[in-house]
Symmetry: C2
């Protein structure tokens, strides 16, 4: 029933542009937003990819998103900046903030941006990778609404609060670790519901806070590694809520239902100029050496030992050639948006 | 058999000073080293506490440690510094490096030190807490010799590579997350061996890389949260080996056996000046609010929901009053050192 078609990224981008034009969003705002969604899908991070576009449009139509924002950069030292995202799309604000961090790091060694009044920024990797491609170590963080149960707790308190770290590597795309601090993503629960497979113990909990393996009973996630993932989520909340002055945990407006309430999400972005510590060429060559040594380790199962971002790089190679898989459910959502906005969807015919 | 006496921190410090004096270590070098060991023990982090002192003395006597080092600070930008630890005690180098980060952050918003040619620095929390007590966000990282199996691998490749993050809180000691990126510490394996209790599944592996629950069969640790802990260990290795130019993973001189081979450990330390983002008083008050809200969450078991560093704070209160527990095995080790150095150990009579 849920068939998949493969659609070239250019066709998807073209449809998305038409949709964002139709809601009178500025190209300056929507281009990085579309780019973030498509890059996430190319990398296989489908939970944070193109399937979010209908949600973003719904949010815009509900009045939650400022489509003509004025980003305000308050430079508070040579290396620190407070960014007011003016309630626009998170990807636009976060990308601009990370480029500012890269500039500050190029001039003064490091850069840190705390982004206030933002919304969902998609995949954290997009921003850390942008710094790594500029020869920097990049870190990106965002908070999100409460979905994860504290260690020894019963009910969600913090979000899936991801930690992302990227660094450049000779001859290939950067190393990039992009991990939710929960055991799994909520998308994994939804996938198990569809596939009929159980959850592993320690992944999720039911409405009374008891760990459960039935994906249909799951209403909350458990932290990765118990108190460690819970502690990392706290770290992310401090960086994203307390540095920015934004609400934390259960005070954050949930992603759903979609209404006109502003999300007030916070992000933190950091760039560190590698050249201030080592010759960039030497660093990148040693990164390659470290990563290849890891990849050559004896493996337990059939697949080899890999390094963070290896699966995403492989996926990006494949999908850049053969297109992004779009399920019939996703296509129906795109059709709904097209119909709402009075757009042709012929471009998404698949191939 | 393994009886415990409680000894006041002052008595322990006094004995340690005598021992370090006897090996002709400079007070400038040993004071922060002793302080780090005692603070770790007070905080209940016994694996990184006073029990390490005999090991440190053994290393010094073997010629591994430079007892009259000259720390070299190469300032490469207003916010970045390369520190050459000159093969001395890690705690001395790391503390000085973090204080330098705090200075840089006070002047320019942020500070990052990469410490090369170092040795075991004890508990990562010591340095992040020092930054937090100065009104900064502090991060500290160190690499260590290979003990943890990569996700899907069979043999150790990276160390337990801790991540540590601290931030100040109104009216109490800072928030502080200090976590090995392995599922457990090696010390936990040793404790289960002594207590006769099994390991939990997913904690450790035997010599063929198979997960095992028999602590006597365990020779390696597994990463916390599978690929997530493995990815975080990789991040720490990049910060500590590649920014510093030090060896990585299996190329690092192991802690044991003790010989004259230099360890060539690397550390990374970061300070971020909170005042550049928010009023420090407001930040600290909101920290308190966030932490207290977490602590008031309904709990699953008898003990309440806690926040990273809560157990350590409670322990520090108790042990500051009633002394640090020293096992008879540890006391025997102290006696061995006293005997080697021709020292009286009467000071450690316990109470």
């Amino acid at each position: 029933m849920n068939q998949v078609v493969h659609i070239a990224k250019e066709s998807i981008a073209s449809f998305f542009r038409d949709a964002f034009d139709r809601i009178r969003c500025q190209p300056e705002v929507y281009e990085p937003t579309i780019e973030a969604l498509i890059e996430a899908s190319l990398r296989g991070v489908d939970s944070h990819g193109i399937r979010l576009m209908p949600h973003y449009i719904d949010e815009a139509l509900a009045g939650r998103i400022n489509l003509s924002p004025r980003l305000r950069f308050q430079q508070t030292s040579p290396t620190t900046v407070l960014v007011d995202a003016d309630d626009t799309f998170g990807a636009f604000a976060a990308k601009a903030a990370m480029l500012k961090c890269v500039d500050m790091a190029a001039g003064f060694g490091m850069g840190c941006a705390a982004v206030a009044n933002s919304t969902h920024f998609g995949s954290a990797a997009i921003y850390a990778l942008a710094a790594a491609r500029a020869g920097m170590i990049g870190l990106s963080f965002t908070n999100s609404d409460a979905l994860v149960i504290p260690y020894n707790g019963k009910y969600p308190f913090l979000g899936t609060n991801p930690v992302c770290f990227a660094a450049p590597c000779e001859g290939e795309e950067p190393f990039c670790l992009d991990m939710a601090t929960s055991a799994i993503s909520w998308n994994k629960v939804r996938m198990q519901r569809i596939s009929g497979l159980p959850l592993e113990a320690g992944w999720a909990a039911d409405g009374s806070g008891e760990p459960c393996t039935d994906p249909h009973a799951a209403v909350a996630l458990l932290p990765s590694g118990g108190y460690k993932g819970y502690g990392l989520a706290f770290m992310v909340e401090i960086l994203c809520s307390l540095l920015t002055g934004m609400p934390f945990g259960r005070h954050i407006t949930p992603m759903f239902p979609v209404n006109r309430d502003r999300r007030k999400i916070g992000h933190a972005l950091i760039a560190i100029d590698i050249r201030r510590f080592q010759d960039l060429g030497v660093f990148a060559a040693r990164m390659r050496e470290l990563m290849n040594e890891a990849r050559s380790q004896p493996a337990k199962s059939g697949s080899p030992v890999r390094v963070a971002n290896d699966p995403e790089k492989e996926c990006q190679d494949v999908r850049s050639r053969s297109g992004i898989p779009v399920s019939s459910a996703e296509l129906a959502e795109f059709n709904r948006i097209a119909s709402t906005l009075g757009l042709e969807i012929a471009k998404l015919g698949g191939r």
